[in-house]
């Protein structure tokens, strides 16, 4: 394609702009561009667009990007729990509010799994020694501390609202908090016995999260 009377095809223009042609063919097309102003201008425009695309700055992230993390954290904590029934623990798709009743059922299911896991772990298995990653332990401790602080704040708020809640709702919340606290206490004890067991640490983190979720939903209950 060197005849200046016949312009380059659309494919040839993009290919020469890409630099995606084999050497010999590229040389031939470049020769055409030196003698055909129309094709040369068009290829130059495509190259300018490509340069502009390559140099495109990062899209300025919106402030909302910071607000995405808590949702991610909530979802990844949920993935640490073995679902006991379809959709009980981890819902696919977008999240929507749930009532206290479904939260309590979910918490109860998780707590049952926690209790079984703790008892299973205690029934004869030696403490895990494969993972001695102290940084993970420190991180878990920090995470537990953060959950405890958040749970305490929510408990304080719940106390302020307690007199406005229906008696049966209060009873249900107290009942489930006792179960959650019992599970946490068992898991703390188990982790103290077997501090390098990652499954126990994950279960402990899950039970903390369940407590916080339960308190949040209780805070929304009427």
């Amino acid at each position: 394609m060197t005849d200046t009377q016949v312009h380059l095809s659309e494919e040839e223009r993009h290919a020469i702009a890409d630099g995606s042609l084999p050497g010999e063919q590229a040389v031939s097309l470049e020769a055409h561009l030196r003698t055909c102003e129309a094709c040369a201008d068009d290829v130059a425009r495509i190259r300018t667009l490509m340069t502009r695309a390559r140099d495109a700055s990062i899209v300025a992230p919106p402030a909302a990007l910071d607000e995405v993390w808590p949702s991610i954290r909530s979802r990844i904590e949920a993935t640490k729990i073995v679902p006991l029934s379809p959709d009980a623990i981890r819902r696919k798709g977008r999240r929507r509010a749930r009532g206290v009743g479904s939260a309590i059922m979910m918490a109860a299911a998780v707590i049952a799994a926690v209790t079984l896991a703790v008892r299973s772990n205690r029934s004869g298995r030696e403490p895990t020694t494969a993972n001695n990653d102290t940084s993970s332990l420190i991180a878990v401790a920090d995470s537990a501390h953060a959950y405890e602080a958040e749970a305490q704040t929510l408990l304080n708020q719940l106390e302020l609202r307690r007199s406005m809640l229906r008696p049966e709702a209060v009873a249900a919340i107290d009942h489930d908090l006792r179960i959650v606290d019992s599970a946490i206490a068992e898991l703390k004890d188990a982790v103290a016995h077997d501090p390098n067991n990652p499954a126990l640490r994950r279960l402990l983190a899950s039970s903390y999260r369940q407590k916080v979720d339960l308190l949040k939903r209780a805070g929304n209950a009427g």
Partner: protein, 189 residues
Amino acid sequence: MNGHVRGSSDAVATNDVGVVDDVVRRAQHGDVEAFESLYRAHSPAMYALCRRMVGTDGEALDLVQDVFVRAWERLTTFRGQSSIATWLHRLGVNVVLEQLRSSKRDAMRLIEGDDSSFGSRSPGGQIDARIDLDAALVRLPGGARTVFVLHDIEGYSHDEIAQMTGIAPGTARAQLWRARRALLRLLDP
């Protein structure tokens, strides 16, 4: 991928190939705080990728969330053969493409290359004197936008794009040409 991964924090992103850095390793062991560091470092680049591929802030933020949840689930499969930024980027592209495929409208556009909305007119019917690249990208049909972002911005080859999207390499090329022509009309009327 013959291009580059944009905008990731060097402090966390640039481990040598074959080496899993400490933050990634801790995240692989379940350290949520370490994973949050990865999120802070890489989410702006991931947002940019998602925003350019889907065109709206809301969808992009949802996709960023989905990408990092998927990353958490699959992080143990990361072996350091590439940088964590490259691994996340590829994961992000796959998650976005899955989302586009799940949308009937965009899937059709991806396959058929609907170019009915190509051109130089804004939704209000006015001819723009000049708009920026991201604003112009929003006006492209999904398929053309996807191919342009993957090829000209993110640096994937046509063969890689064909593999990821399930369209033929020739179709990917045609989509790219259409996208470039439409962008030239929008950006340089």
